[in-house]
């Protein structure tokens, strides 16, 4: 059976996941991810049309709490762990392109 996964699929997924891959990595991951998906084909033959999917073992219920003020993390302590800060905020490189 041929791999269900093509090299361009892996390249696209890497881009979505914000990862850059070398050509060698792209080849290796295409083979390896293809093998894993091929193993998962044992599920594709099952007729599960009437089965309700389970995303969580006990089913999540909405949990609410009283709206009371309680201590939170200290801003300076949290920012001290950041790669870059400015004026009490996280700082990042530019987000928008330069104006033409």
């Amino acid at each position: 059976m041929t791999s269900p996964l093509r090299r361009e699929d892996v390249a696209k997924v890497a881009k979505l996941a914000r990862l850059s891959l070398t050509d060698e990595e792209l080849d290796l991951f295409t083979t390896q991810l293809g093998q894993i998906l091929e193993h998962a084909n044992d599920m594709s033959t099952l007729n599960l049309d009437d089965v309700i999917p389970t995303a969580h073992p006990f089913g999540l219920i909405n949990v609410v709490r009283d709206d009371v003020v309680r201590p939170s993390l200290d801003r300076d302590v949290v920012l001290a762990m950041a790669p870059d800060t400015e004026g009490g905020r996280f700082a990042v490189p530019r987000i928008m392109g330069e104006a033409p």
């Binding site: 996941a17 999917p53 389970t54």
Partner: protein
């Protein structure tokens, strides 16, 4: 080495002290840590301060708690205030959490002394601890072999007598498999029994914290100390910590225990022999043994390796170089995100992020992730049917004893197969414990796995204790 129970008793009575017990632990770490690479960080200063304060409280006549002065190792995916927490990843290197995981608060409240953070497969993704960015941990019983994973460092700490207790986390077998490979008790509790607050997320619907120890009683003491509802974890079970210690010697008389064919299928012959011997021991102790086939277990691996990566791809999106950890600078923010993640994550983490992203992407969602969630329903139903015929299930924890370094690293599928017997429990959110029982190839320990429905921890410990007595370990 003394048990945790006897250390706590001696510290509380004044016969020993937390500081003296910590010294023993630190000497054991110094003796073998360089060889075995167990700890990523040893918090000698913090541990000494904690131990000294316990000794002062004992001197004042206070009851310090069930883990009075017991040194404990913590898997390095649990947050401890001010202590480097890496998940064995370069992306978190140097990060010091500004808060404690709930388990850390509860350990300290119980009188335990956290001594340091142990090695793991990066972000708990792996079965050998070979995926750590800080080098593999070696199995203390045979340093040419892996300790299992992903909680390999925690298992090795206990196996090497560095600490009598350790905490691990189990998403698909990451406590039970290393426990089996290192000859320890290791339990994955029911989903929600132990708070996940401060446990760095891998697959949120599967992750659960649990204990490692050399004997059943110590595991019960530790789990009882950390379990119970936590308002900071909205998925935590509503009730307080269950009574476990009091039931350790309840035995298995009158219990129905089912040997599950799919939980020994493909296992090495010496592993199967151990499971069969364990079944006989339970029968001798008064259990009724039945045999069951649960074909749905064969689908567990496929469902797991879509669900866990899907959740991981979402959970690990937070490592973007903005708020904490590594940043690799680039001309704009998107390029910075990509450069940071490319440099910070190892190959296995990238593999799983991509697999999960693919399984969740448009056009493939129904065929992969959707189908896996339906298989998960089937798995839960299959367990329910099994528990109409038996109180507990039994099988192997892993297909083989500890394997040599490098034997499974080039082929991810072969590594994933190490978890084939442990995964069903995580998918169903239930509980299971690995108990060392007999030896296999090269005299290495074999782990027998006992599985139970949600909230069956007391029954599982009681059955594990029967096996412990049959092996004449204590």
């Amino acid at each position: 080495m003394k048990t945790a129970q006897s250390i706590a008793r001696e510290v509380q009575s004044g016969e020993s002290s937390a500081s003296a017990e910590l010294d023993n632990s630190l000497s054991a770490i110094r003796a073998r840590d360089e060889e075995l690479n167990v700890f990523l960080y040893v918090d000698e200063e913090g541990a000494r301060a904690t131990a000294a304060s316990i000794d002062e409280r004992v001197a004042r006549g206070e009851d310090v708690g069930p883990l009075a002065g017991v040194p404990i190792a913590i898997k390095d995916n649990m947050c401890q205030t001010g202590i480097p927490t890496t998940c064995s990843s370069k992306i978190l290197e140097g990060w010091r959490p500004p808060y404690n995981a709930t388990v850390i608060d509860r350990l300290i409240a119980a009188g335990a002394v956290p001594v340091g953070k142990t090695n793991l497969d990066e972000f708990a993704m792996g079965s050998s601890t070979e995926n750590s960015a800080f080098g593999p941990t070696r199995n203390p019983l045979d340093p040419s072999r892996v300790p299992g994973g992903s909680s390999g460092g925690s298992a090795a700490a206990v196996a090497a007598n560095m600490t009598p207790l350790a905490l691990g986390s189990d998403t698909g077998g990451s406590i039970r498999q290393p426990a089996a490979l290192c000859g320890l008790i290791g339990m994955k509790p029911s989903y929600g029994l132990v708070s996940r607050y401060g446990l760095i997320a891998f697959a949120s619907s599967l992750d659960q914290i649990g204990p490692f120890s050399k004997n059943v009683m110590d595991a019960a003491i530790l789990l009882e100390a950390i379990a119970g509802h936590d308002p900071l974890d909205s998925t935590s079970l509503p009730e307080p910590s269950p009574s476990l210690v009091a039931h350790v010697n309840d035995g298995v008389a009158g219990k129905r225990i089912a040997l599950v064919r799919e939980l020994v299928e493909g296992a090495d012959e010496d592993v199967v022999i151990s499971v069969n011997r364990a079944v006989e021991a339970l029968k001798d102790a008064g259990a009724t043994i039945v045999e069951l086939s649960i074909p749905e277990f064969r689908l567990g691996l496929s469902a797991y390796y879509l669900i866990a990566p899907a959740e991981a791809s979402s959970n690990l999106a937070r490592y973007d170089g903005v708020r904490y950890g590594l940043r690799v600078d680039a001309e704009d923010v998107a390029a910075m995100n990509e450069a940071t993640r490319t440099a910070g994550f190892g190959a296995e983490v990238k593999r799983r992020i991509m697999l999960g992203t693919y399984a969740l992407s448009a056009g493939y969602f129904d065929a992969y992730y959707g189908q896996a969630l339906k298989v998960r329903t089937r798995m839960i139903d299959a367990f329910k049917r099994a528990y109409q015929q038996a109180d507990l299930l039994i099988g192997a924890t892993t297909p083989s004893v500890a394997f040599a370094f490098g034997t499974k690293t080039s082929d991810p599928m072969s590594m994933y197969l190490s978890d084939v017997f442990t995964i069903p429990t995580n998918l169903a959110g239930e509980a299971a414990v690995s108990v060392p029982f007999g030896t296999g190839e090269a005299g290495l320990p074999v782990g027998v796995q006992l599985l139970g429905p949600g909230r069956s921890e007391a029954q599982l410990f009681a059955a594990a204790r029967v096996l412990e007595i049959a092996e004449d370990r204590s």
